[in-house]
């Protein structure tokens, strides 16, 4: 029994990574005032591109970078629309998700001629902890979260970013280039989302499937609000949500009835919902979140 629990605890670490990376990146973006609900789409696209890179080059480091770069590219698009063109941020995010899904499937067909999964690729080497393989991305993502916390709360740059999200007009008047800083924050978030997506395909699952994101981008969003826009708290949040995920996977494997697997799959979603409903503290949202900054 204890072994099962420990095992679950370790498996949760694996599930935690994308949820943490996505959330930490989005925290920076939202602290600057821009909301990106296209994280799901970014996961999908970077999972795809890093598998493609790995398939053709066999170079894991490069593929990881390709994933990050993909995130950044989509981030440029979302940033351009949300920040410079003052578009509706939510709608743009929805568009990104739709677009990503379409591109994902199209690519599967054209490159490998399949409708469901890509072929398997080698994944990032793991180290063993208590008999379970754990990816180096686990401690890496935690370090990134802590580093981001430091950036946001202990440096002048972080102060400037937060000012953009609280009162962009005041920030601009104090010499902060709000549009540029917001754009860069979006790119930071997109880069981490790209990293998370790459992790999904070339670290965890080992291939690309069109369902690989499975709503994780939105769970990451839930984590942002749950953590009160604090990257360190987001670690705990991501782990909690990771436990739900692990539980669902574990139960599907363990139980004998195939149909029940469907019910187990609802655990991460219902669990996330329950947590969000129960713990919605009136944690202060950045005051100008979601509102485009218009100067004249």
């Amino acid at each position: 029994m204890i072994e099962e629990v420990a095992d679950l605890g370790l498996l949760a670490l694996t599930s935690m990574v994308p949820l943490l990376l996505g959330a930490v990146g989005e925290i920076v973006s939202e602290r600057a005032g821009v909301v990106n609900i296209g994280i799901e789409g970014m996961f999908l696209l970077s999972a795809l591109t890093s598998v493609i890179a790995e398939y053709y080059t066999g170079n894991l480091a490069l593929s990881l970078l390709v994933g990050v770069a993909t995130g950044v590219c989509v981030g440029v698009l979302h940033g351009a629309i949300s920040v410079y063109l003052r578009g509706d941020q939510i709608v743009a995010g929805v568009g990104v998700n739709l677009f990503a899904y379409g591109v994902g499937v199209v690519s599967l067909i054209t490159i490998w001629g399949t409708f469901g999964n890509s072929p398997s690729v080698p994944t990032i080497p793991k180290f063993m902890v208590l008999g379970r393989p754990i990816s180096p991305m686990v401690p890496a993502s935690i370090l990134i979260a802590v580093g981001t916390w430091y950036l946001l709360f202990k440096t002048n740059t972080g102060l400037r970013i937060r000012a953009c999200g609280e009162d962009p007009r005041a920030a601009e008047a104090m010499g902060v280039k709000v549009l540029r800083l917001r754009f860069l924050s979006v790119l930071y978030g997109a880069a981490l989302a790209g990293l998370g997506g790459a992790y999904l395909s070339i670290d965890w699952v080992g291939q690309f499937t069109k369902e690989i994101a499975a709503g994780r981008g939105f769970i990451a969003l839930a984590n942002v609000a749950f953590s009160g826009w604090n990257p360190v708290v987001a670690i705990a949040g991501a782990y909690v949500f990771g436990v739900f995920d692990a539980l669902a996977i574990h139960l599907s494997i363990v139980s004998m009835q195939p149909a029940l697997a469907y019910l187990f799959k609802t655990i991460p979603y219902l669990g996330t919902l329950a947590v969000v409903v129960a713990f919605v503290r009136r944690a202060r949202m950045p005051s100008s979140l979601g509102k485009p900054y218009i100067k004249e």
């Binding site: 002048n156 102060l159 400037r160 937060r162 000012a163 609280e166 009162d167 007009r169 005041a170 920030a171 601009e172 008047a173 104090m174 010499g175 902060v176 280039k177 202060r284 005051s287 100067k295 004249e296």
Partner: protein
Amino acid sequence: MGRGGGEAVVMKDVVKVYPDGTVALRGVSLRVRSGEIHGLLGENGAGKTTLMRILYGEIRPSRGEVKVFGRRVSFKGPWDAIREGICMVYQHFSLVPSFTVLENLTLSMSSIRRASASEVAERAREIMERTGLKVPLSEAVESLAVGVQQRVEILKALMRDARILILDEPTSVLTPVEVRELFNTLRRLKELGITVILITHKLREVKEVTDTVTVLRRGRVAGVVRTPDVSEAELAKMMVGREVVLKVSRRPRKPGGAVLEVRDLWVRGERGVMAVKGVTLSVREGEILGIAGVQGNGQRELAEALAGLRRVEKGRVLLMGRDITNRPPSEIYMMGLAYIPDSRSVGLIMELNLVNNSILTRLKRFLGRGSRVLWGRALSFTNRVVKEFNVVVESVRTPVRYLSGGNQQKVMVGREVASGPKVIVASEPTHGLDVGATEYIRNLLVRLRDEGRAVVLISTDLDEILQLSDRVAVMYEGRVMAVGRPEEFTLERLGLLMGGVSA
């Protein structure tokens, strides 16, 4: 950079046309001498703030030249202006409310040079010493009094080695005592060699503290004078372009019985603190009761409580003898009270047309069977309002946001008045309007009072209050300091009462 040395600012033939077509400046030239306090005088819409925003780099001129300390400049943003030593303090402060004073100062300094929080605190204390300005460094800005926040803004400017300080209507949110303190500060800054440009529409202040005045009118320069050489009346004439009719004719009238009674009212404000503390008033039919006071002393909360938009914690409100305390607004409006809020974006829905806006507050009157909206009835009501109140508009189907401020105000006021209310609560009804519209609204209020209605006029414009009211009440920190006829109040006494001093 001493006194009387060269020219700090020269702006030549500046033109500004906004993207939506409004022409704000039509060729304005300005000369500010170094080390002087220069007044920029004009009414709302004259172009004063636009001109200074160009100087500060916030917006680009459509045409024209700007020179600072003799050098031609072309600012791409405030950061360029700041580097030249220009700092602007707005009416609405450029401070992040949720940050502390120190964080705001650090943020401000972070654009200039790398400085840690402790270095910033050090320098701040040093300046506070030198100028006598005092602010608490570790408090959140949103919890500070307005006068203190303004001091933070000035401190912020000084920390950036500002050599030119632009203040935009700094006294509109201050009590008379705070205004005096501000002017003392400005004189001290002048001694330190700093140039000050003061944007205002208040003649008295221009006379009190400036050395030179540039008067703007409708986007052009109406005159440039040395302050000692000119009188307030002359300045007023330059500002408006004609003999200012400062008086509205008001025949004395005997008011009837009380139609609105407020008894020991207690209302909570935004932050959970009591904003109205035991106010007792009554207004009679055929009477205008003017409520004077600096913005933020409970007037708005009082008005909202009367309209049912804010909870009354204790006390009663009686409309024609019936208790309307805490009733829903739709009911109160139907019962004969009209509320004209101080903000047009609250009283009107900018994206909708006039017809949709005219049924907003008394929707029930325009509903048929099964909650169907009777658009025919709404249309004729709207046409009536447009005709009676001279609203200049091409079609009633025009979205309200395309109308001028004055016409928007007429729509809002007209809608309320045409519904035949017995009591009208008007909050800042002429705020931001040009002279023509202001005159119209003021005459309208007097007409309503002559017709036997009761008007509660809330305004920060003392001239307006004194001219129009039959009785005046002064509010300070949620309490009524005094009530009486306008003749019983000199401007002196009003100022003291508004500042919290019983007189």
